[in-house]
């Protein structure tokens, strides 16, 4: 029992990490809380749902199309709603436009797919293994390894690809990066694109393992991303991993051993406690405010 709960927790944690990375990256570069993040990832997940259950496409093709569309929507939101405000306006303003963008996307999603819980098809089907008296759920192992694989790939991309390095540069200091000849607008668009893409992958993995997708998961996803990013320390990749894992595992233990009704309040309580005790997060560094 304990082992099962832990394994599911780790799997959920890995999915949360995927959703968190995009949000955390955006925050570290623009110091912008992207309220639209959750609604973008649920949009991608809905697209995947439609492609799979209405059009019966090949799962790999469907996932590819859905993730690219999610990424493009994220980049579009950036171009339309945030870019104009980047220079010259207080960042609180772009935070509120983010809220407006979230509102628009959420309502567009509701118009297209309604607000019911839809049955998301299972993509990977595998029998559970029985080993040393333990039941190993292969589906969850596959989900976990896909999530971990993508996190590793993304880390390699940041370290070695020229665009990855550009992203790291821009997150350090935008004016300096632009003096070094890095195309700022393009890099930021790429960050949003990747953030949306990873979020959609997370959403699809989550939905396929619970066989459900619903509009409410969008806002929940935004909150999860905020919380996980802050627990781990905003803007750091390892922080996203630590935060996502802690949140995923805790939620599962609370859900199984206490009550699933307290799963969400626990997430919020976690957020409040971390904010009050250590707002920079576990892996975060202290940011000095300049006068």
């Amino acid at each position: 029992m304990f082992f099962d709960v832990l394994l599911v927790g780790i799997m959920v944690g890995a999915i949360y990490t995927l959703v968190t990375i995009g949000y955390s990256m955006v925050y570290s570069i623009l110091k912008l809380m992207n309220f639209a993040h959750g609604d973008v990832y649920i949009f991608g997940t809905f697209v995947c749902y439609s492609l799979l259950s209405t059009y019966h496409l090949n799962p790999i093709f469907a996932i590819l199309v859905a993730t690219v569309m999610g990424g493009m929507l994220a980049a579009l939101v950036e171009v339309v709603a945030y870019r104009r405000l980047r220079s010259g306006q207080h960042r609180m303003i772009s935070m509120i436009t983010a809220l407006g963008a979230a509102y628009v996307i959420q309502n567009a999603n509701e118009l297209s797919w309604g607000n019911q819980v839809l049955p998301f098809p299972t993509i990977v089907e595998a029998e559970a293994w029985h080993l040393f008296g333990l039941t190993i759920p292969v589906t969850q192992i596959i989900t976990l390894s896909v999530a971990v694989g993508i996190i590793v790939l993304f880390t390699l991309f940041l370290k070695f690809h020229s665009y990855g390095k550009a992203i790291l540069c821009v997150s350090e200091d935008i004016p300096t990066a632009s003096l070094m000849g890095i195309p700022i607008n393009r890099t930021i668009s790429i960050v949003y694109f990747i953030g949306g893409l990873l979020g959609v992958i997370g959403g699809i993995l989550y939905s396929t393992s619970y066989n459900a997708v619903s509009l409410a998961m969008g806002f929940r996803g935004t909150i999860i991303a905020f919380t996980a990013a802050i627990i781990g320390g905003i803007g750091s990749l390892s922080g996203a991993l630590v935060g996502g894992m802690i949140l995923g595992i805790c939620e599962n233990f609370v859900g199984v051993y206490i009550s699933s009704a307290y799963r969400d309040p626990i997430t919020f309580l976690f957020l409040i406690v971390i904010l009050l005790i250590k707002p920079t997060g576990i892996m975060g560094s202290v940011e000095q405010s300049k006068v």
Binding site: M95, Y262, L275
Partner: protein, 337 residues
């Protein structure tokens, strides 16, 4: 001293007719008579509205405009005068609503004590949530208010013995206020108008007091204000709590007007809607949010024919307003660093 002050008031950036800076000194000046006359005429006009609008449906819309005006004036105090982005305003609204609902249905309290207590409870929670502003800043505070708002809603949903869960509290009795039974839409309009006038009047007094000048100074330049000896941390907490107090009053009004309160009345979408209204009207100008409430409510009614696309259009309006006029239609100041 006075001449020096008016000199500074003139050098401050005045960007519109609704700006408060020129008025800082004019509370007891000749201009105040004219202003009082304008407000008086406006009030008479508002009092006559039920004579003009006989249709109960339209009067219901007017009542919601009044209700949201109270909420948005309170939120504007927080958003426009301290720069704290609160996404938990619906929770304070809900605290007021639940306080009135529970006290009136279970304990048979009268409306007036419920109204006052609703405001006070929202005020107390406002102080509690405001205290972290000393340490938790900007976007982190915004997250804190989201968490508070969601916990409030989830607790209201889960604590079935006390709040009756998702069903909410129903059958809130007809309120009586000093012998006046408030029953029809017209009665509720006058009750709401009374609350709105109270809100506006207290806010004007507050803004023109020493207190108000202090937090306008904080808004303009927090560092400079703290150097001048203003205890910025305490002022922020107090302003936040006062904004929440009005939300509590509005919640109490909602409870008796709707005769029910449910957790879904106080979702985060409500907080977002209030922020949209404040932003569209304009932050930092005392009465501009009312314009936002009017615009958004009328837009909502106008697009009722294409109801499914309504929310989409409203979100679009908000993004557009922010992109092209960040200080809002009638606002004086956007956020400052």
């Amino acid at each position: 001293m006075t001449t020096k002050n008016s000199a500074t008031a003139e050098t401050l950036p005045v960007t519109g007719p609704h700006s408060h800076y020129p008025r800082l000194q004019t509370l007891y000046a000749p201009g105040v008579t004219r202003q009082a006359a304008i407000y008086g005429l406006l009030l008479i006009g508002l009092l006559l509205i039920p004579r003009v609008i006989n249709n109960a449906y339209y009067l219901g819309i007017v009542n919601y405009i009044v209700l949201y005006s109270i909420l948005c004036l309170g939120l504007n105090l927080i958003l426009g005068y301290t720069g704290l982005l609160s996404l938990g305003h619906a929770a304070f609204y809900g605290l007021g609503g639940y306080t009135t609902a529970i006290l009136m249905t279970r304990y048979g309290w009268g409306f007036l004590p419920c109204l006052l207590l609703s405001g006070m409870i929202a005020l107390v929670f406002g102080i509690l949530l405001g205290i972290p502003t000393r340490k938790v800043r900007g976007d982190y505070f915004c997250l804190l208010t989201i968490a508070f708002g969601e916990i409030f809603r989830l607790v209201a949903q889960a604590w079935i013995d006390f709040t009756n869960g998702a069903m909410g509290i129903v059958g809130i009795p007809i309120p009586r206020l000093l012998g006046w039974t408030i029953r029809t839409e017209v009665d509720f309009y006058y009750l709401g108008l009374g609350l709105l006038v109270f809100t506006v009047f207290t806010l004007i007094l507050l803004i023109h007091s020493k207190f108000g000048r202090a937090f306008i100074a904080i808004r303009e330049d927090e560092l400079a204000a703290s150097v001048m000896g203003i205890n910025t941390a305490v002022y922020k907490i107090v302003v936040f709590a006062i904004g929440c107090f009005y939300a509590g009053l509005a919640g109490s009004y909602l409870a008796v007007y709707q005769t029910t309160v449910t957790p879904s009345n106080f979702r985060i979408e409500e907080s977002c809607l209030m922020i949209i209204m404040v932003i569209v009207g304009g932050m930092g100008s005392l009465l501009a949010p009312i314009a936002g409430v009017l615009i958004m409510t009328i837009a909502t009614e106008f697009f009722r024919g294409i109801a499914e696309y309504r929310m989409l259009i409203i979100g679009g309006i908000m993004v557009a307003v922010l992109l092209f006029r960040p200080q809002g239609i009638f606002g004086t100041s956007a956020f400052k660093d």
